[in-house]
Symmetry: C2
Subunit: 359 residues, 2 copies
């Protein structure tokens, strides 16, 4: 079965180069030289400041929330994403509440978010789903007017520029995942990009037991990235431009071949693309299931990312969001990874078309 | 400067063998084959069941507490340990409260713990400090009588048997750290050993976003160990008997040469030793500082583990514990690691003696 994604493995000798350095330094963790190098190389590559590397993308959300002082209360977020965003907030004692998404972009709708902000709301946590920028100006405005903290979950948005600068520069903090399945990865890993360096300083202590100058001065945990993961990240980073180029080529072929057959989410015209996902919108759940089955029969995996809509789980919030639910029932993500060939993509497109007879 | 500890680096070709397997499986995380293999090899090596590998030893405490249903309230714990134990509880919304330690063993005193158990207490969280077993029978009794959850922080206790079986088998859960500085390590990593398999099942879901059969059914985070860290763990595990043997030899030489000069914590006669630390008890803080300075002048690092007593920080609890504070002011941990030579140990002992003139 061709998977829906496949981790990029850097050339082995490149990984070995960094492992040599780990063996030479004898430092395996605790803000070691490779973590420091990866931090500065990512900041330079992405054009951001105040980046903190952490153990994974979920810890990034937990640390961002705690460092920004979001304690208890509720956060308005999207029902249309991976459960980690809501779950990380809930774990921190911040109840996620769902506003609806924009049916075209599949991102959290700022107007809907504004409607459910109330006295309990401490934060907005929109997600740049599929690496497609949210309506950042509207959320900025809403956060300022209602005095809310604004955290973007930018887990899918590595390398995306919006109006010519990194999308990660929006919000009081933006979090990102470097999980193995992400286009840039460190095996496990993640980061927070803070707007203010003072928040970065607090977070730096929080990921290391709250230590300052060898003494604990606040509540903290261990959310550090290790040198082994930094080694993997540094090895992958050297290929990341090529990875994005190849993934965008896959995405573009899907758009070309399937654009007249199925709907697709509307991506921002002001942003660069990164090819994080290849989502299509089937007509309904029955159509989606048919496409999935026929792809599986042809040897291709596909996934209903992000089904089900999180508001329907009864787990974090009892609110319903119509567009979120409707689109979650229709969406299907097609295979996209470095190494997927053009004939394979063509084959996948033909299967999708054959499962969609009455164009 | 000779460090107080130094991470053990496994032979590089042994690490490469496991990395070959990572490259062959293309799986970098998500309960991959190496994590599964390390789990079963550790269970066999230690003689335990229901082990869950996690990202680090602090996450192990967080996951154990949450999986055992400890929500809010307070936990009785020791002021004489690394701050992570208290901080992990506090992060989870469980307030740590300090009872006093036994002056001889430096472990939490069950009688003192019993005195401060009240209606707010949900759990006991003793630490097997320096790998020296707590009074496990007394804590078992107290937990049963007062209907409390019992979690041992066994971060220092890798490989310690108590009355012929693994110390990790005590408590509703025992947590352990596999941080690079520990005698067995995976770079970053940790584990929880649960008494009941039903708690293990809950925790298994919690470290993977609360998923069961592909659907989130409860609040979870990402606390998984990656395949890279499992590779390091598997490579180190092959040397662990030798590591413990060498560390115990270091410890024994210190005891032999310094036993008449300085006090040392009293270790359980019913337990095996693992050489996790080499603590001595100076006469007072002034003596400790003098020893530290003279060691530093001789080129040897040493550390006041675990100074200061946590109750004195004003961070987690305002309680005071006399013995905890008194012993924290006196304690000093001497260098102990694989590769420290007998002449170096002898040199260290001579410096300690020379800083302790009036035997």
């Amino acid at each position: 079965m061709i998977p829906v994604t496949r981790p990029f493995l850097p050339p082995r000798d490149r990984l070995e180069y960094y492992l040599d350095r780990v063996y030479a330094s004898r430092q395996l963790t605790n803000n070691g030289p490779l973590v420091q190098e990866l931090t500065s190389r990512l900041e330079e590559h992405l054009g951001v400041e105040n980046m903190l590397l952490v153990g994974n993308g979920t810890l990034a959300i937990q640390i961002a929330a705690k460092a920004l002082g979001i304690n208890g209360g509720t956060a308005v977020t999207t029902p249309f994403t991976f459960p980690a965003t809501s779950s990380a907030l809930a774990w921190q004692g911040v109840e996620p509440r769902y506003a609806d998404i924009d049916s075209a972009t599949l991102n959290l709708d700022p107007a809907s978010a504004a409607q459910i902000v109330d006295a309990s709301t401490n934060a907005l946590v929109p997600v740049h789903t599929y690496g497609n920028p949210c309506a950042v100006e509207a959320f900025e405005d809403l956060a300022r007017k209602r005095n809310l903290k604004l955290i973007y979950d930018a887990s899918h948005a590595f390398g995306v520029d919006y109006k010519g600068r990194s999308l990660l520069r929006w919000g009081h903090a933006a979090t990102i995942s470097f999980h193995a399945t992400k286009l840039f990865h460190s095996g496990e890993g993640g980061a927070v990009v803070f707007r203010d360096s003072s928040d970065l300083e607090v977070a730096h202590r929080m990921i290391n037991f709250g230590f300052r100058d060898g003494m604990p001065v606040e509540v903290g945990i261990n959310a550090k990235m290790s040198e082994l993961h930094a080694a993997m990240g540094l090895a992958v980073l050297e290929s990341v431009d090529e990875i994005i180029e190849q993934r965008c080529a896959v995405r573009n072929q899907y758009r070309r071949e399937l654009g007249d057959w199925v709907e697709m989410p509307e991506f921002s015209a002001d942003a660069s693309l990164n090819g994080a996902y290849a989502p299509i919108l089937c007509r309904d759940m029955a159509h989606r299931n048919r496409v999935r089955e026929q792809l599986a029969r042809g040897g291709y995996d596909s996934r209903g990312y992000f089904y089900p809509a999180l508001g329907t789980l009864g787990l974090y919030s009892r609110q319903f969001t119509d567009a979120g639910r409707q689109q979650a029932d229709r969406v299907l993500c097609l295979p996209i990874f470095v190494g997927l060939t053009s004939p394979q993509i063509h084959d996948i497109c033909n299967i999708v078309k054959s499962a969609t007879p009455d164009k």
